[in-house]
């Protein structure tokens, strides 16, 4: 049957706020093999003109992936999440994520189309902190159809 095309344009309710901590940024930087002190040392971050430590560029996935889970498990969308492969990812930044941000994600089903036997769904995830835009993500997920 495939994913429900009627859901294109649907906007999920905003996620609960995620409080960005210095320790989580440190953990994420370490997990991606980063040793650059800009992510852990306030003085280094300030030398680049920031007030506090910033997160690495792919850090938004921590909140955007969690927000998209609601869509993945939404019966109205009819997405078989056991067959999902992450195809494309893009982030457009207004500014980096920083310690002290309270991130809220709004997930929008931007597109659903067929690619051979598969469905390709594009989700737009708009991330704000205290109402201000921080980063927008676009994730293309491929739902593998039957062979």
């Amino acid at each position: 049957m495939g994913m429900n095309r009627d859901m294109v344009g649907y906007s999920y309710p905003p996620s609960r706020p995620y409080f960005v901590s210095a320790e989580k940024i440190r953990e994420f930087a370490d997990a991606i093999g980063e040793t650059n002190p800009v992510y852990t040392d306030v003085a280094v971050a300030q030398s680049f003109g920031h007030t506090t430590v910033c997160a690495p560029p792919t850090f938004p996935i921590v909140v955007t992936m969690a927000a998209m889970q609601e869509a993945f498990h939404d019966p109205a969308l009819n997405m078989d999440f056991t067959r999902v492969v992450h195809g494309d990812q893009r982030f457009e930044y207004s500014r980096p994520i920083q310690v002290g941000d309270e991130l809220v994600v709004t997930t929008v089903v931007e597109d659903i189309r067929a690619l051979g036997n598969n469905d390709v769904a594009t989700f737009r995830t708009e991330v704000t902190s205290h109402g201000e835009p921080v980063v927008t993500g676009w994730s293309k997920l491929i739902v593998r159809g039957d062979e």
Partner: protein, 142 residues
């Protein structure tokens, strides 16, 4: 933001310093914890092979994180990256070994734009093949 590279110093085709990252199963466990992505195909060999994969594979987002390090190492300030996009084309297979597997990231200046930004075209190679396609970062320079 204060990039440590000036626009005037950049030429099209200029290569950035490449980076080789070693990934073991432990790295995938740490990344699962840090990112919140506990998909079994990234840590459980039985589940990975059951869905037709050759073995456990790295999170595509972990490869995306690695590639942009080439850019942030070059420009200094991560806030200089204003746009970043990739296609995840092939998996990085991570068997259960102590030595792990290597992914090599590289990048070069693909375009110099009118608005003070440059485009860096990135590549990620594992086992002789690219694992990311159309990987590009738009960077605002000093």
């Amino acid at each position: 933001m204060a990039a440590q590279v000036a626009l005037a110093d950049v030429t099209i085709g200029q290569e950035l310093l490449p980076l080789t990252v070693t990934l073991t199963r432990l790295d995938l466990v740490k990344y699962a914890g840090a990112s919140g992505d506990f998909n079994v195909i990234h840590w459980n060999e039985r589940s990975a092979t059951q869905v037709g994969l050759p073995n456990v594979i790295a999170h595509g987002m972990l490869t995306m994180a690695g590639a942009v390090r080439v850019v942030t190492n070059w420009v200094g300030d991560p806030a200089a990256v204003v746009d970043y996009s990739v296609r995840m084309t092939r998996p990085v297979v991570v068997p259960d070994t102590d030595e792990g597997v290597e992914v090599t990231y590289s990048g070069k200046v693909g375009a110099i734009n009118d608005d003070g930004t440059v485009r860096i075209d990135l590549s990620a190679v594992f086992d002789g093949q690219t694992v990311l396609g159309a990987a590009k970062a738009i960077v605002r320079l000093a």
